[in-house]
């Protein structure tokens, strides 16, 4: 009896100690949960020297994810924090509100997504008055050659996209283009579209059958691809300007058993897109180095801090991802 009692006592002692440790751990976790949330104080967050605001459209384009990653990577190197504000892609008012916010808050720098037609000069003047370094980020280069900007060149991206399929389809190419969600109202002024047309000049028989601007929403790619495949003159090539639209176009082509019959040229690199390239569903993808763009934006801010009023333009390059390059990368 005595031994049994002693055994139970040891057993329960161990359970008790283990339970106490678990309990302590759980309490610590719960404390952390509160400390990270409600009890968050200025002392718990990492301090920085510079406060920047970044204003980007709220789309699910992987371009912006890369851009934000690049910003955060570089920010830690120059003791800066980047406060990200995202606005609905079509809402210029919201973009303007965030611009005003940055001016009112007198932040150290403003990185703002801009497109052709935006009042860049006015914004820069206001920013200068507010002592805020203004860094516009473009997907397509501004028309004004003198304007400083950081970004990729949509025209070049369009050119690269068309060039990825035209050698295979030649003059028989019937191309459908899904344009970026933001851009010029007149498609002919759309940099991406202009790049595609530029590439087609070497293939006189090739034609753009349809060009549709991408819309907000997850199904935009599917809708655009389906409408182009259903048009009177069906397309045999689809050029997509975003990763989301690429995936959507793939779904339609696969559903209609048109793999190989309709070539797809995508944008950017995601695990899904890489898999579709390996499977031969996507012919190629034009990968923009948006992370590098983000890093460059902060380098431009550093240059401004050091007194350079007009830092050099920065345009990111493109990488054509196809089966060959993937195989090479795997090797």
């Amino acid at each position: 009896m005595k031994n049994a009692a002693r055994l139970f006592a040891i057993l329960f002692g161990l359970v008790l100690i283990a339970a106490t440790v678990i309990n302590a751990d759980l309490i610590v976790k719960s404390q952390k949960a509160l400390a990270d949330g409600i009890f968050r104080s200025s002392s718990s967050a990492k301090p920085a020297r510079y406060h920047l605001v970044a204003v980007f459209p709220d789309t699910d384009d992987s371009y912006f994810r890369g851009l934000i990653n690049g910003l955060n990577e570089e920010a830690s190197k120059i003791e800066a924090v980047v406060q990200i504000f995202r606005y609905p892609a079509e809402s210029n008012t919201e973009a303007e509100r965030y611009f005003n916010l940055a001016m009112a808050a007198r932040v150290d720098g403003l990185i703002m997504f801009s497109k052709r037609g935006d009042p860049l000069a006015e914004r820069k003047a206001l920013a200068d008055r507010s002592n805020v370094r203004f860094i516009p980020v473009f997907m397509d280069s501004p028309l004004d050659e003198d304007t400083f900007f950081v970004g990729s060149d949509l025209k070049k991206q369009g050119f690269a996209s068309a060039s990825a399929i035209l050698p295979r389809l030649g003059n028989s190419a019937r191309i459908g283009v899904i344009l970026p969600q933001t851009g010029s109202e007149n498609i002919l002024n759309e940099a991406f579209y202009q790049g595609v047309l530029e590439a087609m000049k070497n293939f006189p028989g090739a034609r753009v059958v349809a060009a549709i601007r991408s819309r907000p929403g997850a199904m935009s790619g599917e809708e655009s691809a389906a409408s182009m495949l259903d048009s009177r003159e069906p397309v045999n090539a689809l050029i997509c300007s975003s990763a989301r639209d690429t995936i959507g176009a793939v779904q339609v082509v696969v559903d209609r058993n048109a793999v190989g019959k309709v070539l797809i040229v995508g944008t950017d690199e995601t695990p899904e897109i890489s898999r579709y390239i390996q499977n031969g569903v996507v012919a190629a993808s034009i990968v923009r180095d948006s992370s590098a763009i983000g890093r460059s934006a902060l380098r431009a801010f550093s240059d401004m801090l050091s007194g350079i009023k007009n830092p050099a333009r920065y345009e990111s390059g493109f990488l054509v991802l196809d089966q060959q390059s993937l195989k090479a990368a795997l090797r």
């Binding site: 009692a5 309990n23 009112a104």
Partner: protein, 482 residues
């Protein structure tokens, strides 16, 4: 026991402390949530009041409106100071900074506008006013965004907190149950630890009560009260055992002494009896002797010669026999005593027994222990001839044999076997009490003892007998001077 109880209490206290801390934090978090919300509400209201008072002043240029504006803008500015001003890598803190700095810019613009109004600079105050309104929009937007972010953060924090606090509460419940069970187990264990040695001690006490001093005692595993009791009990038991042994030895000794004392008392008693008997035997024979002398005188007066002679022989024999037996007498005196006894026997038994006496004259003057022949003659009658219906002859012979005086009593009675003779000698040698009920041997042993004592062991008694052939008892003693 106390150590373990303290441990359990400590664990339970820790659990309670942790739970309490978590509860306090939960309560505090609600307070913080409300505090931030109140701050935002205060900012919104303060901004609205500042805007109103500014508009009133700009439109009326009323000093009361100016005072009101100053009061409200000061309050707004003071409230804004409660917001975070530092650059920290945190969304909510950055929003607070944006808000604080926007309010600061707003105040600057409104101040410019008021100054412009007071300076009647329409362009300045109107421009500054519109700019302040634009910043006010931003401030309202930031307040709203702050609230949203804070509520989102709070919800996320609470969700996270809830997800971890629920297992904590469950764990605490398990902890309390486990602690209770552990306490019970320890209680049982220690009760057993406590009662077991007590039970053993009680058994040992019972065993001690029945005289068992070897019962097992609790082993002193540790120095607690029970061990002290067990040690004390063991010492007490050893002392009792020692005392008992000592008492037992003393009782044995006292018993032995008592036996010795009883023996002495018995001896004293026997001595007194012997003294009494001796006194009686001194008194009565004298009385008997004197009475017999008186009877002899009467018989002589009445001319009863035979009676007179009988009484004379009886009185003479008694007088001889009553004298101390360890005296030395002449053989003639011993012979005369034997003759008187024979005459008394002849008077009693008539012609049943024949007596022949042969005594050398030269031996009569020798000395001999008194009263040797009479017991031998008595034995010859009692043991040798008594059972013979025709009676028998007893011969008494006294002679000198060299330097020894030899006295011999012979009968022609039943005699004794060699076995009986050997047994008689053994009895005489070992001085044992006579085995025979008839008392034979007493007289002979008495004779032998007196011969041995008076001759320093030189005298001997010889017995020659055969079954049906009579018995010859010969006394040989060294001759002493005449």
């Amino acid at each position: 026991m106390i150590r373990h109880s303290a441990l359990i209490l400590l664990i339970m206290m820790s659990a309670t402390l942790y739970t309490g801390l978590a509860s306090f934090q939960l309560a505090d978090s609600v307070s913080v949530l409300f505090r931030n919300n109140l701050l935002m509400k205060d900012l919104r209201e303060s901004l609205a009041r500042t805007e109103t008072s500014l508009t009133n002043y700009l439109t009326s240029k009323n000093s009361d409106a100016l005072k009101e504006y100053i009061k409200n803008s000061t309050h707004l500015s003071d409230t804004a100071r409660k917001l975070n001003q530092e650059i920290r890598n945190d969304e909510s803190l950055l929003l607070q900074r944006d808000l604080a700095r926007s309010i600061e810019q707003y105040i600057i613009k409104t101040e410019t506008s008021v100054s412009g109004k007071r300076g009647r600079d329409v362009q300045t105050y109107s421009t500054a006013y519109y700019e302040s309104e634009k910043i006010a929009d931003v401030i309202r937007f930031l307040i709203e965004k702050n609230e949203k972010v804070f509520i989102a953060d709070s919800i996320a924090a609470f969700s996270n907190y809830k997800s971890v606090i629920s297992p904590a509460v469950t764990t605490n419940a398990i902890l309390v149950v486990a602690a209770t069970l552990l306490g019970l187990m320890l209680l049982i264990s220690y009760s057993y630890t406590l009662t077991e040695p007590l039970a053993v001690l009680a058994e040992a006490a019972n065993a001690l009560g029945t005289g068992n001093y070897e019962a097992e005692l609790p082993k002193p595993e540790r120095m607690d009260e029970i061990s002290v009791m067990a040690t004390a009990f063991s010492t007490m038991r050893d002392n009792i055992k020692q005392s008992f042994n000592s008492m037992q030895e003393k009782a044995e000794m006292e018993k032995s002494l008592m036996q010795e004392r009883m023996h002495v008392l018995d001896m004293e008693h026997k001595l007194k009896d012997a003294e009494l008997l001796a006194l009686q035997s001194q008194i009565n024979p004298h009385f008997l002797y004197n009475t017999l002398s008186a009877g002899m005188g009467i018989a002589w007066e009445e001319n009863a010669d035979r009676t007179s002679n009988f009484l004379e022989d009886l009185a003479g024999f008694i007088r001889y026999a009553l004298k101390p037996t360890f005296r030395t007498v002449l053989v003639s005196e011993e012979l005369e005593c034997a003759q008187r006894y024979i005459r008394l026997l002849q008077a009693r038994f008539g012609a049943r027994y024949q007596f022949e006496i042969h005594a050398e004259e030269s031996a009569l003057s020798a000395k001999t222990p008194a009263l040797l022949l009479q017991p031998l003659i008595e034995n010859a009658i009692t043991h040798g001839l008594a059972k013979k219906e025709e009676g028998g002859t007893i011969k008494v012979a006294i002679a000198l044999d060299g330097s020894d005086v030899v006295m011999q009593v012979e009968d022609d009675g039943e005699g004794m076997s060699e076995h009986e003779i050997a047994r008689l000698y053994q009895e005489l040698d070992t001085n044992h009490e006579p085995a025979r009920k008839d008392g034979s041997g007493i007289g002979l042993r008495n004779v032998m003892r007196r011969i041995t004592l008076s001759t320093n062991g030189a005298g001997v008694v010889e017995i020659h007998s055969r079954l049906g052939g009579g018995t010859v008892v010969t006394i040989r003693i060294p001759r002493k001077g005449d």
